[in-house]
């Protein structure tokens, strides 16, 4: 797994490449919590190049979301590939996270 930070219309975008699993989620957790510590109003996660996510990876995002909720921050997932969409679909994560087709969709008011 590789994590890169970019920005889009002055918002932070976390771009993840590869598998988010037991071995890589601690690194994701550290980066995510570090970002959330600064209380960004919105954090975007770009899933375009994510090939797999297991429950420990999802739990990492749940922890991030729970960290953002008290100050009204929003965690938005964008560009989810079909394989990941299947996992998210089974887990009904659309009821937990805000999921958008693209960054432009996510930014549309």
């Amino acid at each position: 797994m590789k994590i890169e930070l970019t920005s889009h219309s002055s918002h932070i975008v976390i771009v993840i490449t590869g598998e988010i699993d037991m071995s890589s989620s601690p690194e994701l957790r550290a980066r995510l919590l570090e970002l959330i510590h600064k209380k960004p109003p919105v954090l975007f996660v770009d899933f375009t190049s994510v090939s797999y996510i297991d429950s420990s990876g999802i739990a990492t995002f749940v922890e991030g979301l729970k960290g953002m909720m008290p100050y009204g921050g929003r965690l938005k997932f964008v560009s989810i590939p079909p394989k990941i969409a299947e996992i998210f679909g089974f887990a009904k994560l659309d009821k937990v996270f805000e999921i958008h087709g693209s960054m432009d969709d996510a930014l549309r008011p």
């Binding site: 037991m22 749940v62 922890e63 089974f90 009904k92």
Partner: protein
């Protein structure tokens, strides 16, 4: 008069010989200490104390090389003042190349310095901190089989006539002993961890039903669960919440290890408590999600809970972010996605309950994602689609779950399993 067996030696030769014997006996004594213990701290303290005495040194220390930080850290410091020892081991580090020890660690060469004040390499900062006055010093790199371990130092040694060769030999032997003790310490730590995990795995199993099968009236239940190498968090339960009804729970805790095992234990307890109070499966999940909400690290539970009416074959189902189950009815295998909520423990939501009606001969197959996430040695996952295809091809088999497990095992070809696999087979005879 001398006879032929008498050899004349010079006083100088005799003095050298005596020194050699003295050195060798000290070496033998220290070797004995080295072989007497595997305990790292004891080993280092005993050897350094003995070497300090041998050299008449005022103080001595061992600095370990930290590969991660590329710095030297005081591991042992022996001088007359305990607070200085503590301060050195807790707070002082040296860069590679800094001070005498840093130089020795970088060059991997020993140094004997008669007067440190005349040596530019000497770093006076430590004396300033400790109030100790270093005058002379012997520093030796400790080099094990895997490279630099650290540096051993003797401060203000009164004795200068020791045998350098024997001293080097001793340091070499000492370095290997430290390396062995470190490996021993690591193996003990791993063994302890392994035992802890084994106990956790046994305890975790004790939360599952004592028997993996259950029969009542027209209903037959069987479960199979196979743990991955690490402790996972699959769970299932068969209960009779009220007369004439049987409850079946399947669940999967996020993550692995002891934390997952503890969370699973809590989830099963919460479930058993809620299942006695609530008659609708969705209500049971409402209770559970509230109870599991405060868990650390975003942990959650995906689950399906069904309450089967033994008289009618009607089934009330609730699903919380769990993969769909398969419904084998007649010649059909249906992927059954019901109205579902997200996993339990994330948000305080209300979970709907849905009713389905079983026909005689129907079968429901519930499983955790470890089943369709199973990987071949190349990392290719089975996938939900192929799982359905397999079940379609074997839907009439009595031992469908065994066939399925055999299929997974042949797919994995001995590759490490990343996740637990649990399958529950529900047969309704009607």
């Amino acid at each position: 008069m001398t006879d032929d067996n008498t050899i004349k030696v010079s006083a100088e030769y005799l003095r050298k010989l005596e020194k050699k014997v003295e050195g060798l006996s000290a070496l033998a004594e220290i070797s004995e200490i080295i072989s007497s213990t595997h305990e790292l701290e004891e080993l280092m303290n005993l050897v350094m104390e003995r070497a300090k005495k041998e050299m008449g040194a005022e103080a001595c220390s061992i600095l370990f090389y930290n590969k991660q930080t590329n710095k030297l850290e005081f591991e042992v410091a022996l001088c007359s003042d305990d607070s200085t020892n503590e301060m050195l081991t807790k707070t002082v580090t040296l860069e590679m190349g800094q001070g005498i020890a840093g130089w020795v660690a970088e060059k991997l060469e020993p140094l004997v310095i008669e007067d440190v004040r005349a040596d530019k390499r000497f770093f006076g900062g430590i004396d300033k901190q400790t109030g100790f006055t270093t005058e002379s010093m012997i520093a030796v790199p400790l080099i094990g089989r895997t490279g630099l371990i650290g540096v051993a130092e003797m401060i203000n040694p009164r004795r200068r006539d020791y045998d350098q060769e024997i001293f080097k030999l001793l340091c070499r032997q000492f370095a290997i002993a430290i390396e062995n003790a470190l490996l021993y310490q690591e193996s003990i730590r791993k063994e302890r961890l392994r035992q802890e995990l084994e106990i956790a795995a046994v305890l975790q199993k004790s939360f599952l039903p004592a028997l993996p099968h259950f029969e009542k009236g027209n209903l037959r239940l069987s479960a199979i669960t196979i743990a991955a190498a690490k402790i996972g968090g699959d769970l299932y339960d068969f209960i009779e919440p009220v007369d004439g009804k049987v409850g079946v729970l399947i669940g999967d805790v996020s993550g692995k290890g002891v934390s997952a095992a503890l969370y699973m234990a809590k989830a099963v307890s919460d479930f058993r408590y809620a299942a006695r109070l609530q008659t609708a499966p969705g209500k049971v999940f409402d209770e559970m999600t509230a109870q599991l909400g405060d868990s650390p690290r975003g942990m959650f539970l995906t689950a399906i809970y069904m309450i089967i009416d033994l008289a009618s074959g009607s089934v009330r189902v609730a699903s919380a972010g769990h993969p769909p189950f398969l419904w084998i009815t007649g010649d059909e295998v249906k992927e059954t996605s019901l109205l579902s909520g997200p996993p339990l423990g994330i948000l305080p939501l209300e979970y709907p309950s849905t009713t389905i009606q079983l026909n005689p001969g129907d079968r429901l197959l519930l499983f955790t994602d470890g089943l369709f996430d199973a990987q071949d040695p190349g990392g290719e996952r089975l996938g939900f689609g192929k799982l359905i295809d397999f079940v379609k091809g074997h839907r009439h088999e009595e031992s469908l779950t065994e066939s399925l497990m055999d299929y997974i095992i042949s797919l994995e070809q001995g590759a490490d399993r990343a996740d637990d696999i649990t399958i529950i087979d529900i047969k309704w005879q009607g």
